[in-house]
Amino acid sequence: MSIDAIDITKDFDGFVALKSVSLSVNRGELLALLGPSGSGKTTLLRIIAGLEWPDAGDVRIEGKSVLRVNARERGVGFVFQHYALFRHMTVFDNVAFGLTVRTRHLRPSKADIAKRVHELLELVQIERLVKRYPSELSGGQRQRVALARALAIEPIVLLLDEPFGALDAKVRKELRRWLRRLNEETGMTSIFVTHDQEEAMEIADRVVVMSQGRIEQIGKPAEIYENPANPFVCEFLGSANRIPLTWADGKMAHPAIDLDAITVRPALVGAENIYVRPHDIDMVKDAAGVGTVRFLSVVGPIARVDVEVAGLEKPVEVDMPAHRLTRAGIEVGAPVRLTAVKGHVY
């Protein structure tokens, strides 16, 4: 089902958590709401689910306004950040809950409920835990129960609030791929909240970047990574070195870093800064270079280097393949020359 949030504003006693937020989710899409803590992601998700009401704006599912439909009837599957499993119920009863509370003429028979629960537990790969209580499960297992429970009601859309936030790295990767597959197989429109850009980039069809109650940018992962709309998005999607610019004859320059390889649109001439990602900087050893290597960390294939440059407050971060670093003979204290090959000008 398609979801439209139109000009949503939410005010918590004078604190505006959402400021005129608009968002369209296509049928079958897997959408990520990405932003730092406190940016309003959860609030937006809860408004779509009917757990919170906006002060202004509209929520439409398949084009129909659902603001008059409460959470109980909205048919939205919601997975809570801390799972919110019913602690006094077994895994089976948790997953069956949405079916057992139906009115009699809509409720499946006991046998059908049991069958459905087992199918769902199979889907999330925890059939053997059916008799356990939530307190007897690991974080990843609890998350799977929460997913199965939300799916049991055959929701029209699936909303997940930081579904993998509390899990360790390995389980997290596994579960997010699982979510991607689920979305592909069922075609269920899904929105998940995350503050982890890697997670959003890896599995989402489109990413919505939020900050301070506003949407900063919406786009496909590659799109927003290649063309971040503003410095906030640029810095949030990964580290970037901010380098102040000087301009002469419509060409930008920095006294210590070579920027000649980068061309900018005429509209951006005169901009204040260029943001350059660590891996978009070339570094060579050069006795005449104005940079000095201050810190060096080589773990795995990529070397992380901090270069002190006169005129810049913070050292410039440079990432380069470890083998090239060794070959170039770059070590702490070495003088280097920096060339930026790509950057975002604002």
Partner: protein, 269 residues
Amino acid sequence: MNRDPLPIRILLIALAFLVMALLIGLPLITVFAQALSKGWGEYVLALLDKTTLSAIRLTLITALISVTVNLVFGVMAAWAIAKYEFRGKSFLLTLIDLPFSVSPVIAGLVFVLMFGLQGWFGPALQGTGIKIIFALPGIVLATMFVTFPFVARELIPLMQEQGTEDEEAAVSLGASGFQTFFLVTLPNIKWGLVYGVLLCNARAMGEFGAVSVVSGHIRGKTNTMPLHVEILYNEYNFTAAFAVASLLALLAFVTLAAQSLLEWKKGHA
């Protein structure tokens, strides 16, 4: 934690036991010793006295009504405070605590002032023939007032800690308000609730001051067990007084045992 030298630890623990034995154990033993001083026969006879039986019945009825009402209102108040945000919340909390800080005698007097013959509603009530003061309704009201905080106070921190996510999950899965309350909220607060009810009940049955003011001490009619004990005692009928008192003491034991059982169960849940 365990750095104190052994003798000091032993001394402190022994002291604690000694104080407990003197302050609590000894009086309890005295109660039972006095009650049984003339043998089991007298003891049973004293309990089977008509006015005693009536006092027991009145206490049970009073406790049943006030505990039930406080259970319902306590859950409602705790729910409102723990799960909603509203202005005047801290004022409501203070109100709930009020019975703890007001002397029970004052509580009783307030009801006399309101419903007594010379009270605000006295004349109006007289016309209808409904008796509140010196009758069961007054006793129940006074008891309810004194015991109100027990259930609410037990539940508020518990519900606050649990938040509203479980309820939201239930609703988003299609549960009605009733289903959410009975299938999710109630089981979550079950132990706290039982605990609160136990304490509430013990206090309701044992309340003296507030009830004494509103009861009128009509023998065989408006005497609860604690009041009956006093009357018997003042009549130098010690065996009977202590016999009834022993029942109240027994209630304390039962409550205590149930509490320990709950603690143990919670620990093993």
